[in-house]
């Protein structure tokens, strides 16, 4: 455990988010991290977009030709100016790239590091439905045509890790509400985790094209109070 903490602290020097999470033991909700980063990225895009768009509109209006034979008076760059106009913007763009990459990497780490107390659910993709298998062996599914089945039931307040594979073609498990998504493939196991913090019903949709009923391959994701979840799980187990 001690060695692991030391190992964690090395990238932690670069990635304050992870270090903080490891120290406090508090679960960092990927949804919050994603939303926060999205906000920052939007500001970044807005600034760049506004600079270019404002300049373009200004010039497009200001430099309209006043006579048909007029020619432009665009600058002829000296060698030093030409290099500057290449290198300075290149470094500005690169700085922004590294800034975004560092931010993105930090949040990425919260996405890949599963909290220790997470409940594991096995998910298997089929054409065209999902099968969820819980630690006690209980299973759940959902049928698009009859609308029967509970889909993915999870208790509020417990992080959930999904171990995913597929029986036939490539599917992808996308939960927009929890900002996660990963492909499920035959012969491989992938994982995602999410943190249902409040009671709500959302949807998982298949987001990798998988054939005729691709857009019917969806199921509810129900985050319910722990007591209700336990009762449901027990009942599911007894009907096995």
């Amino acid at each position: 455990m001690k060695g692991r903490m030391v190992a964690l602290s090395i990238p932690g020097l670069l990635l304050p988010g992870v270090a903080w999470a490891a120290e406090s033991g508090k679960i960092v909700d990927p949804v919050e991290s994603w939303n926060h980063l999205w906000h920052e990225v939007l500001i970044d895009l807005f600034i760049m977009g506004t600079i270019f768009a404002a300049l373009a509109i200004h010039w497009l209006i200001k430099y309209r030709a006043t006579s048909p034979d007029q020619v432009g008076r665009g600058p002829t760059l000296s060698r030093a100016q030409a290099w500057s106009w290449a290198m300075v913007p290149a470094f500005v763009f690169m700085a922004d790239d590294f800034f975004l990459a560092a931010k993105g990497w930090t949040v990425w780490n919260t996405y890949r590091k599963v909290p220790e107390n997470a409940m594991e659910v096995k998910v298997t993709g089929n054409m065209w439905y999902w099968q969820f298998e819980y630690p006690n062996g209980a299973t759940s599914t959902y049928a698009y045509d009859t609308k029967e089945g509970d889909g993915l039931m999870v208790p509020v307040g417990t992080p959930v890790v999904l171990r995913m594979t597929s029986n036939d073609v490539i599917h992808s498990f996308g939960m927009a509400e929890y900002r996660v998504k990963e492909d499920m493939m035959p012969g491989r196991i992938t994982y995602i985790w999410f943190y249902p913090k409040e009671e709500k019903q959302s949807w998982v949709t298949c987001v990798e094209f998988c054939g005729t009923l691709h857009s019917q391959m969806y199921a509810p994701v129900k985050a319910v109070p722990p007591a209700q979840f336990d009762a449901w799980l027990k009942q599911k187990k007894s009907t096995l």
């Binding site: 931010k103 993105g104 996308g174 493939m185």
Partner: protein, 536 residues
Amino acid sequence: MKMSTESHGFSLKEWVFTTDHKRIGVLYLIGSIAAFAVAGIMAIMIRIEQSSLGPTLVADVATGGNQYNVWLYFHGAAMILGFLIPGLTGFAANYFLPLMIGAKDVAFPRVNAFSVWLFYAGIIMALLTFVVSDAPDVMWTGYPPYSVLTSGNTAFYVFTVHLLGFASILGAVNFLVTVIYMRAPGMGWNQLNMFVWSTVTAFVIQLVFVPVLAAAVTMLLFDKYLGTHFFDPSQGGDVLLYQNLFWFYSHPAVYVILLPALGILFEIIATFSKNPIFNYKAAVYGGMWGIVLIAGEVWVHHLYISGMPDWIRIGQMVSTLMISVPVGLLAISMFGTLYRGAITYATPMKYATACLFLFLIGGLTGIPLAMTVMTVHLSETSFVHAHFHYIMGIFATFAVFAAVYYWFPKMTGKMPGKKLGDLGFWFNFIGVNVTFFPLFLIGVQGMPRRYWNYEMFPQFEPIHKIAMLGALIVAVGMFLTILNWIISAIGGEKAPANPWKSVSLEWTHCPNPPGPGNFPKDVTVSADWTPYNYGR
């Protein structure tokens, strides 16, 4: 349309057996516009289908996917492989590149003729989708295992890619040799038109990467019809190998579309601003060649959610973000060319100006998609769909339209109708934004791509209705535009020799339209000549 001064009246035989790069260019234009029109009808059907929650055009819930998926397949495959790539590197490069470098034709005219008929075979192969009962339904990406397991006819997809890919490889060899060996005496590398450079860099990419795609789809064919197991993990195959090979070509392919489109815009913006290209060398060597350098190292951003190892997802996030450096240099050069210009707004310049804004929206929305963790939520949603339609679909389509308008007097000797042209432009520009901008908004909220049925998200229905309205506006615009070309080609006003007052060789040294051999007198250029020297 009378294309050449040698012929008197239309002769089918002359067109079928032509080796003239200009006629081959026109053949590419006709074929790619035909593919565009059919794929455009598919787009409208897709928009109408999504405009209401339940089945709208499709028969019912259980089989609706079969119809809808074929529309999606044809729309994607035909737009990219049948319209954008041949429209830019077939039509525009064929017709104008030899004129710009002062050459009488391309290096291998008969190979050129062979490649245009391969292209037509590819288009026909794609159109067979609507004839056969087991139409391919594998999207333009054709991912296994689905493409191997489907009852749809994946072979049509594979052969379409083979034919169009082979046509493109031949074109690549032809044009690279042409630019290297057939430039007018005295024309140095730094005196080339931006469009020539963009075509050279695009064809370098084609030559390097198309064979990889051809190999990938051939393995698909073997897996489906000959019982091999390249992509079947139960027999020791690799389920992700195809996606890696596919995107190893198909990400660079977006630059095969982007670069010539940018090249065309540089020509138009320079001509209508009467300005030299701002920082030409940075745009060519940093921008275009920078893209070539980086093109092959970013494909994994298409596989961010495919279960690739973490280290490569992070590594390729950095390399993908780095694309902003060459693209940024090209943007600075393009926007900078407007600075202190003498700008006039004929129809081609309207399209070019619109492209600047499409480029901004499409380019900037690519930045979150370069970031692995942002993509975990955004990928496979309408956000991605809107992003690549802005930067690849609409931007490049507008560039093709701008090119047709800009060089219309060169090709036909007639002026394109201005009123109808401008009207079509406004319909197109407003329509595409009404269609695609709202898709960003529902994409961020999680609207999945490639869904005709979204009953779990009824809140997105109003936005889909707006998007359909936009698509119908675009349809009117496209109809007006193509109608305008036909009317103007037949009965347009006679064009002056150099209507836009360009100083590029294709306008200054050869008649409208150019006859066989292009130039009445052999062209030589002096050391201080450039295609953008407006003599201040």
